[in-house]
Structures are given as C-alpha cells and as structure tokens.
Symmetry: C2
Subunit: 166 residues, 2 copies
DNA sequence: CCGATGTCAGTGAGACTGAAATCT
DNA sequence: CAGATTTCAGTCCCACTGACATCG
C-alpha cells in the first residue's frame, strides 16, 4: 500500500538522523579521550585522505586562515601532523599526518571501521551497490543545498560568534 | 568475485564518510546563516524530537550544566525555545521549541528533507527496509563503541579545552 | 608592483570548574 | 538535612578580524 511505503521512507529518514547523532556523539567521545576539539578532529579526518595545504584545510573545515594556523600549531606540537614547505610554490605549506598521527587515528577509528564488513555481510552485491548509490546521491543533494545556502547568505562569519551584532 | 565484493564494501564505507562530511558542511552553513554555533544547532536538533529538561539537553550534547544554561539563554533570547517549569518536579526546567523555532528549522532543513522521497523513489520497499535496518545496525555499532570509549577514558572534560595540562 | 599564501597581534564568544540557590 | 537540578561567578581556550611577511 502507498501508506506503508511512506512510513518506510520516513523510517529511513529518522534512521539517518539517529545515525548522524550517534556519530556526533562518538566523535565527541574521541575528542574527550584525546583532548582534541571538533575542528582538530575534522582536520585529521581530511588529512587521512591526502596531505593538504593550510588554505585547503581552512576551506575544508570552514576556518579562517589565522585559526587554521593555530590549529596546525596545536596538532604539530602534539606530533600528529607536520608542516612541509612546498618546493614548487614556496608560499604554500603542506600539512600531512605523521606516522604517530596515522597510528592514533587507526587505534580509535579502526575498531569501529572493522565492524563495517560484518554489518554489511548480510547484503547482496546489488544491495550494496544500491546503498552506495543512495549515499552518493544523498551527498550530492546535501552539497547542492549547502552551496544554495552559501550563496543566499554570504558575508557572514562561520560560527556566528563574531557575527552577533548587538 | 570476492574482490568485487570487498571493493563494494569499501565503497560503501567511503560513501558514508563523504556523506558525513557533507552534512557537517551543511550544518556549518546553517550555523553561518543563522549565527548559531554547532552546540546550538545540536540542541535544536534534539528538541525537534521532544521537549527536554536542561539536564537531558546537557547530556545529549555533552555540555556541562553551566554551558547548557547559557546556551538555553541564547536560544530563548532569540525566541527559538522557551523554558517551562515542570509542574510535577519543580526543580526541573523543560525546554521546548517555540512556534518560531519550529518554523525556522523547517525553513532551513525542510527543502533538504523534501528531496528525500525523490531520492528514495527508485528503491523497492524491500530495499528501503534493508537500508533502514543497516542504518539502525550502524547506529547501534557506533553507540556501542562510544560507550566503550567513554568507559575507557572517564574523568576527562568534553572539548579538551580545560583538559590540556601544561 | 600586485595578487596569493601563510602567520602574527588583539578582541570577543563560549565552555569549563566550582559555589550558591531552589526544590524534593 | 541530604540529594537532585539549575543557575551564577570567574577563568581559559579558541575562532575571528585586521595587519604584516614572504613568495610568484
């Protein structure tokens, strides 16, 4: 019946929201365990993909240049990342994970990621492909709405801290 | 082949991570548009489920009691939430969304949520049920690892701000 | 010289700890 | 009065704006 399908779609929506909250809580716990704030964690997350310049990191996390500098200072001081001057364009500074940083990330997120395969084991290949396509589509939708919001609200700061006009 | 299945599973993992980053970026943009910080947004997110006491809100967001108080002050001052003394236990303070708050959330997240059904339209009912079950299972796994981390690292503060012993 | 990239001061908002107030 | 819930006072970290240094 059509009504069953609607409730199914709604259930997927709620499940997505609940999953989002759970991962937020997990990241909180990781931050507490390592004494890292959310911005630090997000930077480390991006750096697992590839080394990035300070500017790219700032854009990815939404931080200002100065904030990015102090953030990289923090992570560097703890030995999680290191700065490497770009030999081609000596203005740029590449930030990359150190072996210590990579190992630490692995220790915390590894046990969680290791359960992924067993969780996905009951699905067929076609089901997995559908799931992947759904996630890719959802990512695309969210990104579209993000740029829509960005264009409709330009010139404001990130966290709304300095943006509060009294 | 087994190798195809492994790459499929890996692809689902990467797609999940990408989706996570996209929603993080979207929430950033919402915060910028409304001059609300991440904690404010998370509180509003929880309050869409049901009214909660200040203590529950603090536990849900991981904030201290005092931080929760000032957070609710902020949101109340802007007219998004309101305090209601619990008539049964007059120590407790229930926090609930105002009509204005509900409307504002709807205006920002509504357009995004409205695309969910069209994104899910190509899936069969059984596929949707599988997806829902996967998300519920993933939420459970993440929550289990969160409590594991919590138990192995107790007595530390949330954001690691005051936790940095020099 | 001008644009781009990154870093250095100074300011302000928000989260924390600890103590006080209110209610059961 | 002890316990629970929320709020107040004081401190500190972190992000921001704006100016400066360096490089293409």
């Amino acid at each position: 019946v059509a009504d069953d399908r609607q409730t199914l779609i709604a259930a997927v929506g709620r499940a997505t929201q609940a999953y989002q909250r759970a991962t937020d809580g997990f990241d909180d716990e990781v931050g507490r365990a390592l004494a890292l704030n959310p911005s630090d964690l997000r930077c480390l997350d991006w750096l697992t993909e590839r080394p990035m310049t300070a500017g790219e990191l700032g854009a990815a996390t939404g931080l200002s240049g100065a904030a990015t500098t102090t953030l990289v200072d923090r992570l560097e001081q703890r030995g999680y990342v290191r700065r490497v001057r770009d030999t081609a364009d000596r203005r740029k500074v590449l930030v990359e994970l150190t072996p210590d940083g990579t190992r630490m990330i692995g220790q915390l997120y590894g046990p969680l990621a290791a359960e992924g395969p067993s969780l996905l084991s009951r699905f067929t290949d076609t089901d997995l492909a559908l799931m992947r396509d759904f996630l890719v589509g959802a990512t695309d939708v969210v990104d579209r709405h993000r740029t829509r919001l960005r264009n409709s609200s330009e010139g404001r700061t990130r966290l709304g801290r300095a943006a509060i006009r009294t």
